[in-house]
């Protein structure tokens, strides 16, 4: 276990770690562009220069293995000057794009200029001109002038997505990142290159010019796109959620996240959401009434539920463990409901796995639902059997899926549910096929509620409410609470 001292602080690190990793543990800041924990070492940006005793030349910290008794300095004047000039070399051909660059506010060039630069630039020659706004594929746009050629994205397509689309073409300061004509950057993890790009060269088409970064706040949650349970950061502000980015979690998703997960924020925003209770009146008009307060609606449902003899429950694996607990406690424990159906979305590709992060099981909490069912020793019937005894149910409580994109069979299943007498559909997003139902209750999306998701491996991960988009929406626990109130059944 070699021991080294950096700026006077000493630390013992396992054999084979590099100086930059040791510095990270001592949280000593070392500037770096091309170094990334999840990728191989390129040693090309030359920002992480440090001085090592008994070594005349400055060494790059990212590739320097720690040897015993090594003494490293990162903040003496010589290193500061070297890092300042490395930064200067990055900036001399960099276009003055900060006003129109999406990365402004979280761009490493800006950050490091404030930490290591603050010099008056001396470059007054003409800058190298390259192409702007080159579309690399369906989701990523490249600006070759802003690119500092740190080759992170090239290494990502070589080592992580293993699709080899990006490469550095030409030589010297005419080098550009580009793809071959017939191979655009369209693999399932292409937007990761946008996260790891330290500057604004790679921008995601979905988030392009949507919002300035300093107007956004982040909070951590779990992606509900599939059962891998990647840790993500969601960026939001007063008028909604704007983007989703991965958060480092070595065991579950490493540094990466798939492109489908990037779109999950869309179904939490206002334009897709059911904002108020929708009730289809039974009287003459049969008109639909909107806007009734949820508590009142639940009271009415509660009254009808009391006389209901045969109740059906249709669950999808999109909700949290706590919600299943409350639901099963109430319906199975108190109302002795026996017919509980489990709406599994894609039977065929359920167990597929693409080798990195994308799993066929597109629900975040399948394991959670199965465990809750076992705990309440409830037999989950497949939803196709609902058809047989559909008309016999005079009540059907449907916990509709939140991420409708992965439920292609919604319209067909809703026709089936309509056969039962009264359908109470608890859904966060509206859908035309829900219109026939008696009740539609606005549900909270996964960014608005606390809870736990259990991923495919059984790892339980907490999600917390970070943003309030539809104030009137309720979670399943609140639905149960509302029903118990009106039915006078104590939990």
């Amino acid at each position: 276990m070699p021991k080294l001292t950096i700026n006077g602080q000493s630390i013992e690190v396992p054999q084979g770690t590099t100086v930059i990793q040791a510095a990270k543990e001592l949280n000593i800041p070392i500037a770096h562009y091309c170094y990334h924990e999840g990728l191989s070492i390129a040693g090309a940006c030359r920002m992480c220069l440090v001085e090592v005793e008994k070594n005349p030349k400055l060494q790059i910290a990212c590739n320097l293995p720690v040897t015993d008794g090594m003494v490293v300095y990162t903040d003496n004047p010589r290193v500061k000057d070297a890092v300042k000039w490395s930064l200067d070399f990055h900036l001399i051909n960099h276009p003055l794009d900060c006003p129109i660059c999406d990365q402004a506010g979280e761009c490493k060039l800006q950050d490091y200029y404030m930490d290591y630069g603050l010099y008056t630039p001396e470059m007054d020659q003409r800058k190298v001109k390259k192409n702007k706004a080159v579309s690399l594929g369906d989701r990523v746009v490249l600006d070759q002038e802003r690119c500092i050629l740190c080759s992170r994205c090239v290494r990502f397509t070589k080592e992580v997505s293993k699709t080899h689309e990006l490469g550095i073409f030409n030589r010297g300061d005419r080098s550009i990142i580009a793809t071959f004509e017939d191979r655009p950057l369209n693999n399932n993890y292409s937007v990761n290159t946008v996260d790891i790009c330290p500057v604004g060269a790679l921008t995601s088409k979905d988030f392009r010019f949507k919002q300035r970064v300093w107007f956004l706040k982040d909070f951590d949650t779990i992606c509900n796109g599939c059962s891998t349970g990647c840790n993500v950061k969601v960026s939001y502000n007063a008028n909604g959620v704007f983007r989703v980015r991965p958060k480092v979690n070595k065991e579950v998703n490493g540094h990466w996240m798939c492109d489908f997960g990037r779109d999950i924020y869309k179904h939490t925003n206002k334009e897709y959401r059911l904002e108020a209770v929708v009730e289809k009146r039974e009287d003459l008009s049969g008109a639909t009434v909107k806007g009734k307060p949820v508590a009142l609606a639940l009271q009415e449902i509660g009254k009808n539920l009391k006389q209901a003899k045969n109740i059906a429950l249709v669950l999808t694996a999109q909700y949290t463990v706590e919600e299943y607990e409350a639901f099963l406690n109430f319906f199975v424990g108190k109302l002795k409901v026996s017919s509980i159906y489990y709406w599994k979305n894609n039977e065929t590709s359920f167990d597929s796995f693409d080798g990195l992060l994308i799993r066929g099981d597109k629900n975040p909490n399948t394991q959670g639902l199965l465990k809750a069912a076992q705990k309440h020793n409830v037999k989950l019937l497949p939803v196709t059997e609902f058809d047989k005894s559909a008309s016999s149910f005079d009540f059907c409580i449907l916990a509709a899926p939140e991420n409708q994109a992965v439920y292609p069979d919604i319209t067909e299943k809703c026709q089936m549910f309509k056969k039962s007498n009264e359908v109470v559909c608890i859904t966060s997003c509206y859908n035309d096929s829900y219109n026939g139902f008696k009740w539609q209750i606005p549900a909270k999306s996964f960014v608005e509620k606390d809870g736990t998701f259990v991923n495919f491996k059984g790892v339980a991960q907490k999600i917390k409410a970070g943003v309030k988009i539809i104030p009137t929406s309720v979670s399943l626990e609140e639905v149960v609470y509302g029903l118990t109130e009106s039915m006078g059944v104590s939990i």
């Binding site: 030359r46 220069l49 030349k57 590739n63 070297a82 000039w85 490395s86 070399f89 050629l149 030589r171």
Partner: protein
């Protein structure tokens, strides 16, 4: 007093063919080498004090001893890229005596127990490639290559690999990347080539002249070799001399010969009407020497590094008083800006910046503070990159700007050359 150890028979055309080479004493060293143990060959070369002739001047024996003694396959690569401006000695050796090189490589391969070796020849050298390939075929037919050479149980294969015209592959790891079919970009060096080089296997890269000297050392012995040259840099070296002198060309002289005599005798002195103003001793990447520094210098590694320059690959460029130093520096900077591989930022951006500054000086819109800026940029490119191209670009700039600052200031102030007067450069060598 040109002492011809290697170039003794270069003037005879039949020396190029296998039979002619064997008649003049070729491949005797090979038989002698097979009789010795590989380790003895390495110690013999180490005792001879043979230093790398490619540019770094690192002791060859020492380099060979860095090989780890595991049974991984080893590779021997001959660096015949010779991209350094002002150097053309390897070409002469390959054209006049290909077998000298081949014999040296077989002996070296036997010494380091390598089954496979490549000769990486610069893409532009069409003639030498044909000659060396023909020579290799002759050697294969003669049974001196392939399986069980001369019954010694040592089998070895040799190929020629054509470069693709990049100066950067003259650098060890750049050459290895190019050989592996990748883009010719240097690799990171804590894993040194001796440990992990070509296809991640131990690899030794040597210059043409270094390998060609090995047979002479084996036949005549290390002590004989040490008689020539100085104590620290023994033996002879081929110098390719260019400039306004009477007899430019390739000369083999013992190391340590004073430059003044070398200029007078071998090179036939300056052309009439031209005066020596400056000297680039070892190819364009070596710092320049002023007139009096050059005249008191001797041609060996130690003296050159004392004067702040390098012997390098022996490309002697004589600069006379009719040349404008700013123009010269611009030509060099344009070369390095074009040849930088673009992997590391200081070199990729720095060479471009310096090139544009010298261009702006020549096209009459240079400023006085540009000169100190040039020096600042160069000083911050030294030693901050993966390979030495950044230093090769920085060192001429620092030496030109410090030793000939008056010409640069004159250009900045008067907007015309101190030597050549008003010369119009449209874009100045862009």
């Amino acid at each position: 007093m040109e002492t011809k150890l290697l170039t003794q028979h270069y003037d005879k055309p039949e020396y190029q063919s296998l039979k002619g080479y064997q008649k003049l004493g070729g491949y005797e060293a090979l038989k002698k080498a097979f009789s010795m143990k590989p380790q003895d060959i390495i110690t013999e070369v180490k005792n001879a004090g043979l230093r790398g002739r490619g540019g770094a001047g690192f002791s060859t024996g020492m380099k060979w001893s860095f090989l780890p003694n595991n049974n991984e396959p080893r590779y021997l690569l001959c660096n015949a890229d010779e991209g350094e401006p002002g150097t053309f000695k390897d070409r002469v050796m390959m054209e006049r005596a290909p077998h000298q090189l081949i014999e040296g490589m077989i002996i070296s391969a036997f010494a380091i127990n390598s089954k496979k070796s490549y000769i990486y020849i610069r893409g532009e050298y069409m003639a030498p490639i044909k000659i060396v390939e023909k020579a290799i075929r002759e050697v294969y037919d003669a049974g001196l290559l392939g399986k069980n050479i001369l019954g010694s149980g040592f089998d070895h294969d040799m190929d020629v690999y054509r470069g693709a015209g990049a100066y950067i592959v003259g650098e060890e790891t750049g050459l290895i990347s190019s050989l592996e079919g990748k883009k010719g970009q240097p690799k990171l060096k804590p894993p040194f080539p001796a440990v992990q080089g070509y296809l991640k296997k131990p690899t030794i890269v040597n210059n043409v002249e270094t390998l060609a000297t090995v047979p002479w050392i084996i036949t005549n012995g290390a002590s004989e070799y040490k008689k020539y040259g100085t104590e620290k840099s023994p033996g002879t070296k081929l110098f390719s001399v260019s400039g306004n002198i009477n007899k430019p060309g390739v000369y083999e002289v013992p190391l340590g010969i004073p430059f003044k005599d070398f200029l007078q005798n071998e090179c036939g002195g300056m052309k009439p009407g031209y005066e020596l103003k400056a000297l680039i001793p070892g190819g364009s990447s070596c710092p320049v020497l002023t007139r009096d520094e050059a005249l008191k210098s001797t041609m060996d590694y130690e003296c050159m590094s004392q004067l702040g320059s390098m012997l390098g690959s022996g490309g002697v460029i004589i600069i006379d008083d009719k040349q404008c130093m700013v123009d010269l520096l611009n030509i060099l900077m344009n070369f390095y800006h074009h040849e930088s591989c673009g992997q590391c930022t200081p070199c990729r951006e720095g060479t471009g910046w310096m090139n544009k500054i010298t261009t702006s000086l020549l096209t009459k819109n240079g400023k006085l503070e540009d000169i100190s800026l040039l020096h600042k940029i160069a000083s911050h490119m030294l030693g901050t990159t993966i390979c030495a191209l950044s230093d090769a670009a920085a060192m001429p700039v620092m030496s030109f700007v410090t030793k000939f600052r008056d010409e640069f200031e004159y250009y900045a102030k008067e907007k015309r050359s101190k030597v050549k007067g008003d010369v119009h450069y449209a874009q100045a060598h862009h």
